[in-house]
Protein backbone atom coordinates (compact mmCIF):
# COMPACT_ATOMS: atom_id res chain seq x y z
CA UNK A 1 0.00 0.00 0.00
CA UNK A 2 1.36 3.38 -0.91
CA UNK A 3 0.87 6.58 1.05
CA UNK A 4 0.51 9.59 -1.21
CA UNK A 5 1.08 12.95 0.42
CA UNK A 6 -0.75 15.96 -0.83
CA UNK A 7 1.93 17.92 -2.54
CA UNK A 8 2.46 20.47 -5.19
CA UNK A 9 2.44 18.07 -8.12
CA UNK A 10 0.32 18.43 -11.24
CA UNK A 11 -0.44 22.16 -10.81
CA UNK A 12 -1.69 22.51 -14.36
CA UNK A 13 -4.33 19.87 -13.84
CA UNK A 14 -6.35 21.96 -11.43
CA UNK A 15 -7.18 24.50 -14.06
CA UNK A 16 -7.79 21.81 -16.67
CA UNK A 17 -10.17 19.98 -14.35
CA UNK A 18 -12.14 23.06 -13.53
CA UNK A 19 -12.87 23.35 -17.23
CA UNK A 20 -13.35 19.70 -18.18
CA UNK A 21 -14.90 17.87 -15.30
CA UNK A 22 -18.44 18.39 -14.16
CA UNK A 23 -19.01 18.57 -10.42
CA UNK A 24 -20.38 15.61 -8.52
CA UNK A 25 -23.91 16.80 -9.10
CA UNK A 26 -26.47 18.26 -6.80
CA UNK A 27 -26.65 15.24 -4.52
CA UNK A 28 -26.20 16.07 -0.89
CA UNK A 29 -23.97 15.10 1.98
CA UNK A 30 -25.17 14.31 5.47
CA UNK A 31 -24.99 17.63 7.30
CA UNK A 32 -26.37 19.61 4.33
CA UNK A 33 -29.67 21.43 4.40
CA UNK A 34 -32.42 19.28 2.94
CA UNK A 35 -33.56 20.57 -0.46
CA UNK A 36 -37.07 21.99 -0.25
CA UNK A 37 -39.83 20.54 -2.40
CA UNK A 38 -43.53 20.55 -3.11
CA UNK A 39 -44.91 17.39 -4.68
CA UNK A 40 -48.34 15.96 -5.48
CA UNK A 41 -49.43 12.94 -3.47
CA UNK A 42 -51.18 9.92 -4.93
CA UNK A 43 -54.32 11.35 -3.30
CA UNK A 44 -54.02 14.55 -5.30
CA UNK A 45 -52.84 16.80 -2.46
CA UNK A 46 -49.75 18.96 -2.67
CA UNK A 47 -47.31 18.32 0.14
CA UNK A 48 -44.33 20.53 0.86
CA UNK A 49 -41.35 19.79 3.04
CA UNK A 50 -41.73 23.27 4.43
CA UNK A 51 -45.11 22.26 5.89
CA UNK A 52 -43.20 20.23 8.48
CA UNK A 53 -40.63 22.78 9.61
CA UNK A 54 -39.77 22.05 13.24
CA UNK A 55 -40.48 18.32 12.90
CA UNK A 56 -38.22 15.39 12.20
CA UNK A 57 -38.97 14.08 8.70
CA UNK A 58 -38.08 10.72 7.19
CA UNK A 59 -38.03 10.42 3.40
CA UNK A 60 -38.32 6.96 1.87
CA UNK A 61 -37.73 6.48 -1.85
CA UNK A 62 -40.22 3.87 -3.03
CA UNK A 63 -41.09 1.87 -6.14
CA UNK A 64 -43.84 -0.73 -5.67
CA UNK A 65 -42.50 -2.69 -8.64
CA UNK A 66 -39.07 -3.02 -7.06
CA UNK A 67 -38.71 -6.29 -5.11
CA UNK A 68 -36.84 -4.51 -2.31
CA UNK A 69 -39.62 -1.97 -1.77
CA UNK A 70 -42.17 -4.76 -1.93
CA UNK A 71 -40.29 -6.92 0.57
CA UNK A 72 -40.04 -4.11 3.08
CA UNK A 73 -43.70 -3.27 2.57
CA UNK A 74 -44.62 -6.93 3.04
CA UNK A 75 -42.48 -7.11 6.19
CA UNK A 76 -43.82 -3.70 7.28
CA UNK A 77 -40.29 -2.54 8.06
CA UNK A 78 -41.03 1.13 7.46
CA UNK A 79 -44.66 0.95 8.55
CA UNK A 80 -43.83 -0.36 12.04
CA UNK A 81 -41.00 2.15 12.37
CA UNK A 82 -43.30 5.01 11.42
CA UNK A 83 -45.91 3.78 13.90
CA UNK A 84 -43.26 3.59 16.62
CA UNK A 85 -42.43 7.27 16.05
CA UNK A 86 -45.79 9.06 15.76
CA UNK A 87 -44.12 12.45 16.19
CA UNK A 88 -41.93 11.85 13.14
CA UNK A 89 -43.29 12.83 9.71
CA UNK A 90 -42.83 10.02 7.22
CA UNK A 91 -43.08 10.68 3.47
CA UNK A 92 -42.53 8.21 0.66
CA UNK A 93 -41.41 9.56 -2.71
CA UNK A 94 -41.74 7.71 -6.00
CA UNK A 95 -39.34 9.12 -8.63
CA UNK A 96 -40.16 6.53 -11.29
CA UNK A 97 -40.39 8.16 -14.69
CA UNK A 98 -43.81 8.21 -16.32
CA UNK A 99 -42.41 6.35 -19.32
CA UNK A 100 -40.97 3.50 -17.31
CA UNK A 101 -42.69 0.14 -17.01
CA UNK A 102 -42.61 0.42 -13.21
CA UNK A 103 -44.69 3.61 -13.21
CA UNK A 104 -48.02 3.30 -11.40
CA UNK A 105 -50.99 5.56 -11.98
CA UNK A 106 -52.45 7.24 -8.88
CA UNK A 107 -55.26 4.66 -8.76
CA UNK A 108 -52.78 1.78 -9.03
CA UNK A 109 -50.55 3.34 -6.38
CA UNK A 110 -53.46 3.91 -4.02
CA UNK A 111 -54.48 0.27 -4.43
CA UNK A 112 -50.92 -0.87 -3.63
CA UNK A 113 -50.64 1.44 -0.64
CA UNK A 114 -53.96 0.19 0.68
CA UNK A 115 -53.05 -3.45 0.13
CA UNK A 116 -49.76 -3.00 1.97
CA UNK A 117 -51.26 -0.82 4.69
CA UNK A 118 -48.96 2.13 4.03
CA UNK A 119 -50.32 4.82 6.36
CA UNK A 120 -48.16 7.78 5.31
CA UNK A 121 -48.33 10.03 2.22
CA UNK A 122 -46.76 8.81 -1.02
CA UNK A 123 -45.61 11.58 -3.34
CA UNK A 124 -44.99 11.64 -7.07
CA UNK A 125 -41.67 12.97 -8.37
CA UNK A 126 -42.06 11.64 -11.90
CA UNK A 127 -39.56 14.01 -13.47
CA UNK A 128 -36.99 13.02 -10.86
CA UNK A 129 -36.13 16.58 -9.83
CA UNK A 130 -36.38 15.91 -6.11
CA UNK A 131 -34.72 12.50 -6.37
CA UNK A 132 -31.76 14.02 -8.16
CA UNK A 133 -31.54 16.89 -5.67
CA UNK A 134 -31.23 14.38 -2.84
CA UNK A 135 -29.06 11.96 -4.82
CA UNK A 136 -31.61 9.18 -4.31
CA UNK A 137 -30.12 6.11 -6.01
CA UNK A 138 -32.08 3.12 -4.87
CA UNK A 139 -35.47 1.98 -3.73
CA UNK A 140 -35.48 2.10 -0.83
CA UNK A 141 -33.13 5.03 -0.09
CA UNK A 142 -33.71 6.72 3.25
CA UNK A 143 -33.08 10.27 4.47
CA UNK A 144 -33.69 11.59 7.99
CA UNK A 145 -34.08 15.37 8.37
CA UNK A 146 -33.98 17.07 11.74
CA UNK A 147 -36.14 19.92 13.09
CA UNK A 148 -33.80 22.51 11.57
CA UNK A 149 -34.02 20.99 8.11
CA UNK A 150 -30.57 19.37 8.20
CA UNK A 151 -30.04 15.89 6.78
CA UNK A 152 -28.78 13.78 9.69
CA UNK A 153 -28.89 10.34 8.07
CA UNK A 154 -28.76 9.08 4.48
CA UNK A 155 -28.49 5.54 3.21
CA UNK A 156 -29.96 2.08 3.62
CA UNK A 157 -32.88 1.16 5.82
CA UNK A 158 -30.87 -1.70 7.35
CA UNK A 159 -27.85 -3.95 6.99
CA UNK A 160 -29.58 -6.84 5.24
CA UNK A 161 -29.84 -6.28 1.48
CA UNK A 162 -31.00 -9.77 0.65
CA UNK A 163 -33.40 -10.10 3.56
CA UNK A 164 -31.62 -13.24 4.69
CA UNK A 165 -31.54 -12.32 8.37
CA UNK A 166 -34.53 -12.64 10.70
CA UNK A 167 -35.91 -9.12 11.16
CA UNK A 168 -34.84 -8.99 14.82
CA UNK A 169 -31.23 -9.69 13.83
CA UNK A 170 -31.03 -6.76 11.44
CA UNK A 171 -29.51 -3.42 12.30
CA UNK A 172 -32.09 -0.82 11.30
CA UNK A 173 -30.07 2.30 10.57
CA UNK A 174 -33.06 4.65 10.44
CA UNK A 175 -34.28 3.42 13.83
CA UNK A 176 -30.76 3.96 15.15
CA UNK A 177 -30.59 7.48 13.71
CA UNK A 178 -33.94 8.41 15.26
CA UNK A 179 -32.89 6.92 18.59
CA UNK A 180 -29.61 8.86 18.53
CA UNK A 181 -31.41 12.05 17.63
CA UNK A 182 -33.91 11.74 20.47
CA UNK A 183 -30.97 11.38 22.86
CA UNK A 184 -29.35 14.46 21.44
CA UNK A 185 -26.58 12.48 19.80
CA UNK A 186 -25.33 12.55 16.24
CA UNK A 187 -26.45 9.43 14.35
CA UNK A 188 -23.66 6.93 13.93
CA UNK A 189 -23.48 5.75 11.26
CA UNK A 190 -24.87 8.88 9.64
CA UNK A 191 -24.24 7.63 6.11
CA UNK A 192 -24.51 4.09 4.80
CA UNK A 193 -24.58 2.57 1.38
CA UNK A 194 -28.16 2.18 0.15
CA UNK A 195 -29.18 -1.02 -1.57
CA UNK A 196 -32.01 -2.03 -3.84
CA UNK A 197 -33.18 -1.33 -7.36
CA UNK A 198 -31.88 1.77 -9.07
CA UNK A 199 -34.36 4.65 -9.05
CA UNK A 200 -36.09 4.54 -12.43
CA UNK A 201 -35.30 8.05 -13.60
CA UNK A 202 -36.14 9.23 -17.09
CA UNK A 203 -33.36 10.00 -19.53
Amino acid sequence: MKREHIGQTWPALSLLLAILLPGPGAALTVGDQAPKFSLPSVDGQTISLGDYAGSVVVLEWINPNCPFSRRHAREKTMIYLAQDHPDVVWLAINSTSRGHGDYLSPAEHRAYDEQMGIPYPVLYDSDGTVGRAYGARTTPHMFVIDEQGTVIYAGAIDDDPSGAKPPDDRTNYVAGALRNHVRGETPDPAATRPYGCSVKYGN
Binding site: M1, T29, N65, R137, C197
Partner: protein, 304 residues
Protein backbone atom coordinates in the same frame (compact mmCIF):
# COMPACT_ATOMS: atom_id res chain seq x y z
CA UNK B 1 -6.47 -41.60 -1.15
CA UNK B 2 -5.93 -39.25 -4.07
CA UNK B 3 -4.45 -40.88 -7.11
CA UNK B 4 -1.61 -39.41 -9.10
CA UNK B 5 -1.49 -40.57 -12.67
CA UNK B 6 1.04 -40.19 -15.36
CA UNK B 7 0.44 -37.88 -18.32
CA UNK B 8 -1.78 -40.42 -20.07
CA UNK B 9 -5.13 -40.68 -18.30
CA UNK B 10 -6.54 -44.17 -18.12
CA UNK B 11 -10.21 -45.02 -18.22
CA UNK B 12 -11.94 -46.15 -15.05
CA UNK B 13 -15.53 -46.50 -13.91
CA UNK B 14 -17.44 -43.29 -13.38
CA UNK B 15 -19.66 -42.56 -10.41
CA UNK B 16 -22.80 -40.62 -11.40
CA UNK B 17 -24.22 -38.14 -8.92
CA UNK B 18 -27.38 -36.30 -9.88
CA UNK B 19 -26.82 -34.74 -13.25
CA UNK B 20 -23.13 -34.41 -12.74
CA UNK B 21 -20.68 -36.12 -14.92
CA UNK B 22 -17.69 -36.70 -12.74
CA UNK B 23 -14.40 -36.53 -14.43
CA UNK B 24 -10.68 -36.50 -14.33
CA UNK B 25 -8.90 -34.15 -16.70
CA UNK B 26 -5.21 -34.01 -17.43
CA UNK B 27 -3.90 -30.58 -16.51
CA UNK B 28 -2.22 -28.56 -19.16
CA UNK B 29 1.51 -29.16 -19.17
CA UNK B 30 1.38 -31.28 -16.05
CA UNK B 31 2.29 -34.82 -15.27
CA UNK B 32 -0.46 -35.01 -12.68
CA UNK B 33 -4.21 -35.03 -13.04
CA UNK B 34 -6.95 -33.02 -11.47
CA UNK B 35 -10.42 -34.21 -10.70
CA UNK B 36 -13.15 -31.93 -11.90
CA UNK B 37 -16.91 -31.64 -11.96
CA UNK B 38 -19.82 -29.43 -12.85
CA UNK B 39 -22.84 -29.19 -10.59
CA UNK B 40 -26.44 -29.03 -11.74
CA UNK B 41 -27.77 -25.76 -13.12
CA UNK B 42 -30.31 -23.83 -11.08
CA UNK B 43 -32.63 -22.22 -13.61
CA UNK B 44 -34.52 -18.93 -13.53
CA UNK B 45 -35.99 -16.95 -16.42
CA UNK B 46 -33.25 -14.31 -16.17
CA UNK B 47 -30.25 -16.37 -15.09
CA UNK B 48 -28.99 -19.87 -14.54
CA UNK B 49 -26.28 -20.72 -12.09
CA UNK B 50 -24.10 -23.64 -11.08
CA UNK B 51 -20.81 -24.53 -9.43
CA UNK B 52 -17.87 -25.95 -11.31
CA UNK B 53 -14.55 -26.94 -9.87
CA UNK B 54 -11.29 -28.77 -10.19
CA UNK B 55 -9.04 -30.32 -7.58
CA UNK B 56 -5.42 -31.11 -8.20
CA UNK B 57 -3.99 -32.75 -5.08
CA UNK B 58 -0.45 -32.35 -6.35
CA UNK B 59 -0.79 -28.54 -6.39
CA UNK B 60 -0.92 -28.16 -2.61
CA UNK B 61 -2.65 -25.03 -1.33
CA UNK B 62 -3.44 -23.94 -4.88
CA UNK B 63 -5.02 -27.29 -5.66
CA UNK B 64 -8.69 -26.41 -5.38
CA UNK B 65 -10.27 -24.00 -7.84
CA UNK B 66 -14.03 -23.49 -7.82
CA UNK B 67 -16.23 -21.30 -9.93
CA UNK B 68 -19.72 -19.89 -9.41
CA UNK B 69 -20.96 -19.64 -12.97
CA UNK B 70 -23.88 -17.42 -13.96
CA UNK B 71 -25.31 -17.25 -17.46
CA UNK B 72 -27.53 -14.23 -17.89
CA UNK B 73 -30.36 -13.64 -20.32
CA UNK B 74 -30.00 -10.76 -22.78
CA UNK B 75 -30.01 -7.36 -21.08
CA UNK B 76 -29.43 -8.67 -17.55
CA UNK B 77 -26.35 -8.13 -15.44
CA UNK B 78 -24.84 -9.44 -12.21
CA UNK B 79 -22.63 -7.46 -9.86
CA UNK B 80 -18.98 -6.83 -9.03
CA UNK B 81 -17.69 -6.43 -5.45
CA UNK B 82 -18.65 -2.76 -5.71
CA UNK B 83 -22.06 -2.90 -7.38
CA UNK B 84 -22.13 0.79 -8.23
CA UNK B 85 -25.06 3.00 -7.32
CA UNK B 86 -27.56 0.22 -6.71
CA UNK B 87 -27.70 -3.53 -6.31
CA UNK B 88 -25.35 -5.64 -4.21
CA UNK B 89 -22.60 -8.18 -4.85
CA UNK B 90 -23.28 -11.90 -4.50
CA UNK B 91 -22.77 -13.29 -1.01
CA UNK B 92 -21.61 -16.87 -0.61
CA UNK B 93 -22.10 -19.19 2.36
CA UNK B 94 -20.06 -22.34 1.92
CA UNK B 95 -20.44 -25.79 3.38
CA UNK B 96 -18.51 -28.87 2.39
CA UNK B 97 -17.16 -32.28 3.27
CA UNK B 98 -14.26 -32.15 3.93
CA UNK B 99 -14.28 -28.60 5.24
CA UNK B 100 -13.04 -25.81 2.99
CA UNK B 101 -10.47 -23.48 4.47
CA UNK B 102 -9.37 -19.97 3.53
CA UNK B 103 -12.16 -19.50 0.98
CA UNK B 104 -11.43 -16.49 -1.25
CA UNK B 105 -13.95 -15.29 -3.82
CA UNK B 106 -12.12 -13.53 -6.66
CA UNK B 107 -13.66 -10.71 -8.67
CA UNK B 108 -13.05 -10.70 -12.42
CA UNK B 109 -12.59 -7.39 -14.20
CA UNK B 110 -15.99 -5.66 -14.30
CA UNK B 111 -17.84 -3.58 -16.88
CA UNK B 112 -19.60 -0.29 -16.31
CA UNK B 113 -23.31 0.03 -17.17
CA UNK B 114 -24.64 3.57 -17.30
CA UNK B 115 -28.23 3.95 -16.11
CA UNK B 116 -30.70 6.82 -16.44
CA UNK B 117 -30.27 9.50 -13.81
CA UNK B 118 -26.45 9.48 -14.02
CA UNK B 119 -26.38 6.22 -12.11
CA UNK B 120 -24.00 3.38 -12.84
CA UNK B 121 -23.94 -0.35 -12.24
CA UNK B 122 -20.69 -2.31 -12.13
CA UNK B 123 -20.71 -5.95 -13.06
CA UNK B 124 -21.08 -8.49 -15.80
CA UNK B 125 -23.44 -9.19 -18.71
CA UNK B 126 -24.00 -12.46 -20.60
CA UNK B 127 -21.83 -14.62 -18.35
CA UNK B 128 -19.62 -14.44 -15.32
CA UNK B 129 -17.69 -17.09 -13.44
CA UNK B 130 -16.58 -15.90 -10.02
CA UNK B 131 -13.43 -17.95 -9.36
CA UNK B 132 -13.07 -19.20 -5.81
CA UNK B 133 -9.83 -20.38 -4.24
CA UNK B 134 -9.94 -22.57 -1.15
CA UNK B 135 -7.95 -25.27 0.60
CA UNK B 136 -8.95 -28.70 1.72
CA UNK B 137 -6.99 -30.91 4.01
CA UNK B 138 -5.30 -33.95 2.56
CA UNK B 139 -5.77 -36.80 2.34
CA UNK B 140 -9.18 -37.05 0.69
CA UNK B 141 -10.41 -40.53 -0.03
CA UNK B 142 -14.03 -39.77 -0.87
CA UNK B 143 -15.76 -37.31 -3.22
CA UNK B 144 -15.47 -33.68 -2.20
CA UNK B 145 -19.01 -32.44 -1.55
CA UNK B 146 -19.46 -28.69 -1.77
CA UNK B 147 -22.54 -26.51 -1.41
CA UNK B 148 -22.87 -22.77 -1.57
CA UNK B 149 -25.91 -20.74 -0.63
CA UNK B 150 -25.67 -17.64 -2.76
CA UNK B 151 -27.65 -14.44 -2.27
CA UNK B 152 -27.39 -12.50 -5.48
CA UNK B 153 -29.17 -9.92 -7.55
CA UNK B 154 -29.64 -9.68 -11.29
CA UNK B 155 -30.92 -6.53 -12.90
CA UNK B 156 -32.01 -5.27 -16.27
CA UNK B 157 -34.69 -2.63 -16.28
CA UNK B 158 -35.98 -4.48 -13.23
CA UNK B 159 -34.08 -6.27 -10.48
CA UNK B 160 -34.67 -9.79 -9.17
CA UNK B 161 -32.98 -11.03 -5.99
CA UNK B 162 -32.33 -14.76 -5.77
CA UNK B 163 -31.10 -17.11 -3.09
CA UNK B 164 -29.93 -20.39 -4.57
CA UNK B 165 -28.21 -23.40 -3.14
CA UNK B 166 -25.65 -24.65 -5.63
CA UNK B 167 -24.00 -28.01 -5.18
CA UNK B 168 -20.97 -29.75 -6.56
CA UNK B 169 -19.41 -33.14 -6.04
CA UNK B 170 -15.82 -33.53 -7.15
CA UNK B 171 -14.77 -37.16 -7.47
CA UNK B 172 -11.50 -38.50 -6.27
CA UNK B 173 -11.41 -41.30 -8.79
CA UNK B 174 -12.70 -41.96 -12.27
CA UNK B 175 -11.92 -40.47 -15.65
CA UNK B 176 -14.03 -38.34 -17.97
CA UNK B 177 -13.11 -35.55 -20.30
CA UNK B 178 -16.36 -33.84 -21.26
CA UNK B 179 -15.94 -30.82 -18.99
CA UNK B 180 -12.65 -29.58 -20.36
CA UNK B 181 -14.46 -26.63 -21.93
CA UNK B 182 -15.93 -25.60 -18.56
CA UNK B 183 -12.54 -25.79 -16.92
CA UNK B 184 -10.97 -23.79 -19.69
CA UNK B 185 -13.59 -21.09 -19.16
CA UNK B 186 -13.06 -21.18 -15.40
CA UNK B 187 -9.33 -20.66 -15.89
CA UNK B 188 -10.01 -17.87 -18.40
CA UNK B 189 -12.16 -16.06 -15.85
CA UNK B 190 -9.52 -16.58 -13.20
CA UNK B 191 -6.95 -15.02 -15.53
CA UNK B 192 -9.28 -12.03 -15.96
CA UNK B 193 -9.05 -11.29 -12.23
CA UNK B 194 -6.85 -8.18 -11.99
CA UNK B 195 -3.47 -8.95 -10.52
CA UNK B 196 -2.31 -7.32 -7.29
CA UNK B 197 0.42 -4.87 -7.98
CA UNK B 198 1.79 -5.29 -4.50
CA UNK B 199 3.12 -8.69 -5.45
CA UNK B 200 5.16 -7.23 -8.26
CA UNK B 201 6.61 -4.23 -6.46
CA UNK B 202 5.55 -0.65 -6.01
CA UNK B 203 2.03 0.52 -6.71
CA UNK B 204 1.83 2.47 -9.96
CA UNK B 205 -1.03 4.67 -8.71
CA UNK B 206 -0.94 8.01 -6.94
CA UNK B 207 -3.98 10.00 -5.84
CA UNK B 208 -4.54 13.62 -5.05
CA UNK B 209 -7.82 15.11 -3.79
CA UNK B 210 -8.69 18.68 -4.75
CA UNK B 211 -11.96 19.69 -3.11
CA UNK B 212 -14.67 17.78 -4.94
CA UNK B 213 -12.34 16.20 -7.48
CA UNK B 214 -9.76 13.47 -7.23
CA UNK B 215 -6.91 13.02 -9.67
CA UNK B 216 -5.53 9.52 -10.13
CA UNK B 217 -2.29 9.04 -12.00
CA UNK B 218 -0.69 5.77 -13.07
CA UNK B 219 3.01 5.66 -13.83
CA UNK B 220 5.22 2.98 -15.34
CA UNK B 221 2.39 1.28 -17.23
CA UNK B 222 1.99 0.60 -20.92
CA UNK B 223 -1.11 2.65 -21.67
CA UNK B 224 -1.88 1.18 -25.10
CA UNK B 225 -4.15 2.83 -27.63
CA UNK B 226 -7.37 2.58 -25.64
CA UNK B 227 -7.58 4.04 -22.14
CA UNK B 228 -8.17 1.40 -19.50
CA UNK B 229 -11.32 1.71 -17.41
CA UNK B 230 -10.84 2.71 -13.78
CA UNK B 231 -12.97 1.39 -10.92
CA UNK B 232 -12.88 1.69 -7.15
CA UNK B 233 -14.05 -0.54 -4.34
CA UNK B 234 -16.66 0.94 -2.02
CA UNK B 235 -15.10 3.81 -0.04
CA UNK B 236 -17.33 4.50 2.98
CA UNK B 237 -16.16 8.08 3.52
CA UNK B 238 -16.75 9.24 -0.04
CA UNK B 239 -19.06 8.82 -3.00
CA UNK B 240 -17.01 8.54 -6.16
CA UNK B 241 -18.29 9.46 -9.62
CA UNK B 242 -17.34 7.97 -12.97
CA UNK B 243 -13.59 8.38 -13.65
CA UNK B 244 -12.81 10.36 -16.79
CA UNK B 245 -9.46 10.05 -18.60
CA UNK B 246 -7.93 13.47 -19.01
CA UNK B 247 -7.36 14.35 -22.64
CA UNK B 248 -3.75 14.78 -23.58
CA UNK B 249 -2.62 12.89 -20.49
CA UNK B 250 -1.60 9.27 -20.39
CA UNK B 251 -3.30 7.28 -17.65
CA UNK B 252 -4.48 10.26 -15.65
CA UNK B 253 -8.09 10.26 -14.50
CA UNK B 254 -10.35 12.79 -12.84
CA UNK B 255 -12.95 11.43 -10.45
CA UNK B 256 -15.78 13.42 -8.87
CA UNK B 257 -15.62 12.85 -5.12
CA UNK B 258 -18.05 13.84 -2.41
CA UNK B 259 -18.04 13.18 1.31
CA UNK B 260 -20.91 11.00 2.42
CA UNK B 261 -21.09 12.63 5.86
CA UNK B 262 -19.77 15.90 7.18
CA UNK B 263 -21.26 15.55 10.66
CA UNK B 264 -18.26 13.46 11.66
CA UNK B 265 -14.63 14.45 11.26
CA UNK B 266 -12.38 12.89 8.65
CA UNK B 267 -9.74 10.43 9.80
CA UNK B 268 -6.12 11.28 8.99
CA UNK B 269 -6.04 8.97 5.98
CA UNK B 270 -8.35 7.02 3.72
CA UNK B 271 -7.60 3.98 1.63
CA UNK B 272 -8.70 3.83 -1.99
CA UNK B 273 -8.75 0.36 -3.57
CA UNK B 274 -8.52 0.80 -7.32
CA UNK B 275 -8.92 -1.55 -10.26
CA UNK B 276 -7.62 -0.70 -13.70
CA UNK B 277 -9.22 -2.80 -16.43
CA UNK B 278 -7.39 -2.98 -19.72
CA UNK B 279 -9.09 -3.83 -23.02
CA UNK B 280 -9.00 -7.45 -24.20
CA UNK B 281 -5.71 -8.35 -25.85
CA UNK B 282 -3.95 -5.31 -24.36
CA UNK B 283 -0.29 -5.72 -23.53
CA UNK B 284 -0.90 -4.50 -20.00
CA UNK B 285 -2.77 -6.91 -17.75
CA UNK B 286 -5.62 -5.55 -15.61
CA UNK B 287 -4.32 -4.46 -12.23
CA UNK B 288 -5.61 -3.65 -8.81
CA UNK B 289 -4.03 -2.04 -5.79
CA UNK B 290 -4.48 0.37 -2.92
CA UNK B 291 -3.40 3.90 -2.19
CA UNK B 292 -3.61 5.46 1.25
CA UNK B 293 -4.29 9.16 0.94
CA UNK B 294 -3.64 11.70 3.67
CA UNK B 295 -6.83 13.74 4.12
CA UNK B 296 -7.33 17.37 4.96
CA UNK B 297 -10.36 19.49 5.82
CA UNK B 298 -12.44 20.21 2.74
CA UNK B 299 -11.57 17.02 0.88
CA UNK B 300 -14.62 15.79 -0.93
CA UNK B 301 -16.47 19.05 -0.41
CA UNK B 302 -17.48 21.66 -2.93
CA UNK B 303 -14.85 24.35 -3.37
CA UNK B 304 -17.22 26.86 -4.89
Amino acid sequence: MPVTLDATPRRAPIAMHRRNLLLVVALEMSATVAWAAAGPWVQHPQVRARLIGVWNPAAGDEGLLLGAQFRLADGWHAYWKNPGDAGYPPRFTWSSRPALQDVRVLWPAPRRFLLPGDLEALGYADEVIYPVRARIQDPVDHPIEIASEIDYLVCADACIPYRDKLTLEIPTDGIEARHETDLRRLRQWERSVPSRTAAGGRSPASIRIQGERMIVRFDDLDAGAEAPALFFAVQPLFDLGVPTPLPGESLVYAVPIRRTDKTHGLPPTARFDWTLVTPPNAAQQSLEGSVEVRLKAGDGEATR
